[in-house]
């Protein structure tokens, strides 16, 4: 027996969960961009500019979610940096909002907390991203586990 409502929600997340992760400063400079979907370079640049335009006009009284094209951006501002995750409109907003925080806290352990650290330690930040998110999905959520892995990798340097 086909139940009411079945199917309507199954279709929705056929694509990726996360389309891209962007870290930008207030001036719109990209400090990290991780793409989980194929975009050409022009498209990437356009997305970066649009996200910046959409997110920076919002203030603290606004929600941390904003509709964006056919997706939505879940974002959080830390000092001068905007951490943005672009997901499907039906995705769980709060789960990604806390995923951002989880990620930021972990970068703290590795000193990658100020804008310049992000720039110069870019290769480490990518490693942290890959430990926590892979193929557009949340891969690992335990801070202890990620930290252990990162310390192990650091010992190999």
């Amino acid at each position: 027996v086909r139940l009411k409502g079945q199917g309507k929600r199954c279709k929705r997340s056929e694509g990726l969960e996360i389309r891209f992760i962007l870290i930008q400063n207030r001036a719109g400079k990209t400090r990290l961009a991780k793409w989980y979907m194929q975009f050409d370079d022009d498209e990437k640049q356009k997305l970066i500019e649009e996200v910046h335009a959409v997110v920076t006009v919002r203030d603290a009284k606004h929600t941390n979610f904003v509709e964006f094209r056919n997706f939505k951006i879940i974002y959080r501002r830390y000092a001068g940096l905007y951490f943005c995750i672009c997901v499907d409109v039906n995705d769980n907003n709060l789960a990604y909002l806390e995923a951002i925080h989880n990620f930021v806290v972990l970068n703290e352990y590795f000193h990658n907390v100020c804008e310049l650290d992000l720039v110069f330690n870019f290769y480490k930040v990518y490693t942290v991203v890959d430990e926590m998110f892979l193929a557009g999905e949340i891969r690992e959520t335990s801070q202890t586990k990620v930290l252990k892995q990162l310390l192990m990798l650091q010992s190999l340097e």
Partner: protein, 969 residues
């Protein structure tokens, strides 16, 4: 720390102050805050140089560095691994600053085969970021990945898997889609590698599912839901969810495993899961993922599993009521992430009224929460709850809060959600309140959402109109408040409705007339006003305050301020006035004749002025009346506004889009511009066709006509249709009578279903379009219309049609065409019986289909002398049928004339010596014979009575026509 990265360019200039470190997050953990003090990485000045100040300087510096790296790569001396890594890293850095890099790929690929982690890592990072999937290096890259996957070194395997997951090209899928499942389920694979392998496989499955072989590994993957390592479970759940969406049967066993895993998580104490507890919430992300996996399936069939899941959902709802374990926003966010996902699952199952109502109450609390995020999410989530029959009423109780949100929320996106929710919770009981609130919000609404609100108001006003005067008022208000945002679809629609509903036409005319009095009114109002007065201005012309001339002057005072299309519309209104109100004809002709019209630079306006002027001059009153007669009803179909809203809303499906397009193009062609009525109407009465002689020929045998022999007269469209035929719907007799003199309109309407008709007849053949409109938002299933001809009717009437689609989507309309052949004269009408399932209930509707004998009339014009000659020829007592009856409607000469013409006979003027009487003539065409008919209607105004006399060559025909026509007056 890798020195080469900390200082890619060893240039020292004067130091630039370092930008402040992130005064990170007030909500950071204390450990993290403590750790922060450790970071005192020395940043050398030149980087600041790169980060901004002067673009030119940056480019100059970078070009210099690129030249340096190029020379190193091309140099005679072979670079060691460390140097190669250093320069590849610099290239990557330059690329990430936004500059193009067109070399170094080979060196990066070389790094992949290094045995040092740092070198390999930079190589893979370069490949992931910079190499596009069609690079010719892909073979070399794949080779390196292959070696790393086989290396048994978990770090190297991880790097290789992350690279595949990032690039995800088809070539990589071809190379590794077979290998990765083995890595994933092998007993000796490290947990962290399993995590990466699961998601890597997910990526390949998404990009090239055809290359990922299903096999033994699938069942073992499902069992990863039981894995001890919650990170492995987290990654595996994503993979299983995606696989289950495409292959639900194969992954069905994941349901019970997911439920038991979820159950263990939600019932665990807040510290049980240690590493996976986030701000006192056990494994929030994994819980969310498991709940999403369960949304791929209907509620579990196994009662034990189902019971356990219900317990989980109840526990999650209970926890929302407990006092928070931490004041940190992270705690409540994580907890509520799980709660909202649980509510999504409850809505998806839509089967537990108790849970649905509890979910609704929980969301109701959030509607007033101080966190904007929660208010937003509660509004959003409640929107879906409103569509469940179990929780619709519970949602409605929050109407005041939602209305308040509309007025007070600062974030436009929250207000938008409030509008959506009001729209979703609207039904007949609260429509007036919701529409009024939306209208008042519209006055101050953000420009970005005005058009959508306009569409929503227009749809709700139409959908829930009990009283169509309310509908007209609402739409005119809409135009007054937000005229600029009222799209064509909206004002077309109000006109369609007014034209199709004669009970509202007078009110509409009066209301637009009053609205047009405003000194400045929106052009859309002029359009609606022009159209409606052109059609129905006569209904208010009796009032001296809105006399024809006043109406005309009022419209014409707006004319010069309007755009060309509106002016064109007004010109059509004027020519309609010429017909409606002969007394203003000279005034209108003067206007049309003026240079500003006749010589207008716009060709459309000029042409209309010329043609309308000419028409008003040369055409007789009759021809004018025919050409400019009232517009026929519009065929019923899905509201074009609804189609437009569907199109506006987010990512719609392809079919939706196509529907919307089709809808639009129909509107473009069929837009309700008051064009003169179709030309075919003009040519119908053909004075030369004196075919009545045929009718005067030997009368047809009095007995039953010979059967035509054509079988299948019971047009049972579907063999499996239920046999029960509902008793005729109440009021269907009245509706039936209304169709005797007209061919188009609404035959039947209740809360669920509307049936519209459009038909045309020619000689003994006809075609009827039946439009079935689903007025609800839920689909009709097993929708089965059946045409039934009784045994008596069968030999005389031949109906043929095709089945319609048994599913009628909510808001959609389906059309059915019936081909009709009149074999010989008949009395009864066929019955249209419709059966369908709506929600859980079986619906049954039966109505008489207005296919009547008079439809096969062809009018015959003749002179007085001829008429009376034939009248005398048909003087047998059986040939004449007479009926004397009381008038049921006001005795209006014009209406009577229209009805006789609508009945199908010609209306013969100056035939009867008494000008108050009406006489008509025509021929009924059947397949077997043609029957001449003469009729005479004598009104008696004092007595409010009529005498109707029918003379035909056949008694049964006289009898039937007399019955049908008597019921019209």
């Amino acid at each position: 720390m890798c020195a080469c990265v900390a200082a890619p360019f060893a240039v020292t200039t004067t130091s630039v102050p370092r930008t402040g470190s992130l005064p990170v997050l007030p909500e950071t953990t204390t450990e993290a805050a403590a750790l922060r003090t450790r970071k005192s990485v020395k940043i050398k000045a030149p980087f600041c140089y790169f980060l901004g100040k002067s673009k030119e300087a940056e480019i100059k510096r970078i070009n210099k560095e690129l030249a340096n790296i190029r020379s190193k790569f091309k140099g005679d001396k072979a670079l060691d691994g460390y140097s190669k890594k250093k320069y590849v890293c610099k290239l990557l850095f330059i690329f990430l600053l936004g500059h193009d890099i067109d070399f170094g790929h080979m060196e990066a690929v070389n790094l992949l085969s290094s045995n040092r982690y740092t070198e390999k890592q930079i190589g893979y990072l370069f490949i992931s970021v910079l190499v596009n999937s069609n690079s010719e290096l892909i073979r070399l890259i794949n080779n390196a990945i292959k070696n790393d996957l086989a290396s048994r070194n978990p770090t190297f395997m991880g790097l290789a898997l992350h690279c595949v997951a990032s690039v995800g090209s088809r070539e990589m899928a071809e190379a590794f889609a077979g290998e990765i499942p083995r890595v994933l389920v092998a007993g000796d694979t490290m947990d962290s590698v399993k995590q990466s392998a699961a998601l890597c496989l997910l990526r390949l499955y998404r990009t090239s599912s055809d290359l990922v072989p299903m096999g033994d590994w699938t069942s073992r993957v499902v069992h990863l839901l039981n894995d001890q390592h919650l990170g492995v479970v987290t990654a595996a759940t994503s993979l299983i969810t995606t696989l289950a969406q495409k292959n639900p049967e194969e992954f069905k066993t994941s349901v019970s495993l997911a439920v038991s895993r979820l159950s263990r998580i939600v019932t665990s104490a807040s510290t049980d899961l240690q590493d996976y507890t986030y701000y006192f919430v056990p494994a929030p992300w994994l819980s969310v993922k498991l709940l999403r996996l369960l949304q791929c399936y209907p509620p579990p069939e196994d009662p034990a599993v189902r019971g356990r899941l219900t317990e989980c959902l109840e526990t999650i709802l209970n926890k929302a009521q407990e006092p928070p374990k931490s004041k940190k926003v992270q705690h409540s966010n994580a907890k509520n992430a799980v709660l909202f996902e649980a509510i999504s699952l409850i809505i998806h199952h839509d089967s537990e009224p108790n849970l649905l109502v509890r979910a609704c109450n929980q969301l109701g609390q959030f509607l007033q929460h101080r966190e904007t995020n929660l208010r937003y999410l509660a509004l959003e989530s409640m929107c879906t709850l409103a569509s469940s029959e179990f929780s619709h009423e519970a949602v409605k109780t929050h109407i005041e809060t939602v209305i308040n949100a509309l007025k007070t929320e600062r974030d436009v996106s929250v207000r938008q959600r409030a509008v959506d929710l009001l729209y979703a919770m609207c039904d007949r009981s609260n429509a007036p309140q919701i529409v009024a609130e939306m209208l008042s919000y519209l006055e101050t609404a953000d420009y970005s959402i005005r058009e959508e609100i306009v569409l929503k108001v227009a749809i709700l006003a139409e959908k829930y109109a009990v009283d169509y005067t309310w509908y007209v008022d609402t739409i005119l208000n809409l135009i007054r408040i937000a005229g600029d945002y009222v799209s064509e679809e909206v004002w077309y629609r109000v006109i369609q409705i007014v034209v199709n509903r004669d009970d509202v036409q007078g009110y509409a005319a009066k209301t637009v007339f009053e609205a047009l009095q405003a000194p400045a009114c929106h052009e859309n109002l002029v359009k609606v006003g022009g159209y409606i007065l052109g059609e129905f201005g006569n209904l208010i012309a009796g009032d001296p305050r809105s006399s024809p001339l006043i109406q005309f002057n009022l419209l014409h005072s707006k004319f010069h301020l309007c755009s060309v299309p509106t002016r064109a519309l007004l010109l059509s209104t004027y020519i309609k006035f010429v017909n409606l109100f002969p007394e203003v004809k000279p005034t209108i002709q003067d206007v049309l004749r003026s240079d500003s019209q006749l010589r207008n630079a716009d060709v459309e306006l000029q042409q209309r002025a010329v043609e309308y002027l000419r028409l008003s001059t040369v055409a007789s009153t009759d021809i004018l009346a025919t050409v400019l007669e009232e517009m026929p009803p519009f065929p019923e179909r899905e509201s074009s506004i609804l189609a437009k809203l569907k199109k506006k809303k987010g990512p719609s499906t392809v079919t939706d889009l196509e529907d919307a397009k089709r809808e639009r193009s129909v509107d473009v062609n069929g837009g309700p511009e008051p064009a003169p009525a179709s030309t075919s109407a003009m040519s119908t009465p053909s004075p030369s066709a004196d075919l009545l002689g045929l009718g005067a020929a030997p009368p047809a045998p009095a007995g039953p006509p010979p059967s035509s022999g054509s079988g299948g007269l019971l047009v049972d469209v579907f063999s499996d249709s239920a046999s029960a035929v509902a008793p005729l719907a109440p009021g269907s007799e009245d509706n039936f009578a209304r169709f005797v003199c007209k061919n188009n309109g609404v035959l039947f309407e209740n809360q669920l279903l509307q049936i519209g008709l459009k038909s045309e007849f020619r000689q003994n053949l006809g075609r009827m379009f039946i439009f079935y409109g689903n007025k609800t938002s839920t689909q009709f299933l097993n929708f089965t219309p059946t045409l039934i001809c009784s045994d008596d009717l069968q030999p005389h009437l031949n109906l043929q049609t095709k089945p319609v689609d048994p599913t009628v989507e909510g808001g959609a309309q389906v059309q059915q065409v019936v081909n009709i052949e009149c074999v010989s004269d008949f009395t009864e009408a066929p019955v249209l019986s419709i059966q369908f399932r709506y929600g859980g209930t079986f619906q049954n509707v039966s109505v008489q289909l207005p296919i009547t004998l008079n439809k096969f009339f062809q009018p015959t014009e003749m002179a007085s002398q001829d008429f009376f000659q034939r009248w005398k020829q048909l003087s047998n007592p059986q040939q004449e049928v007479q009926n004397i009856f009381k008038a049921k409607h006001p005795m209006d000469t014009e209406v009577t004339k229209a009805k006789i013409i609508g009945f199908g006979s010609a209306l013969l003027e100056e035939v009867d010596p008494n000008p108050a009487n009406f006489v008509g003539a025509g021929i009924i065409h059947t397949k077997t014979t043609q029957i001449g008919c003469l009729l005479r209607l004598e009104p008696n105004l004092q007595a409010q009575m009529y005498r109707l006399t029918l003379r035909t060559s056949k008694e049964a025909v006289s009898q039937r026509l007399c019955e049908l026509l008597s019921a019209q007056f």
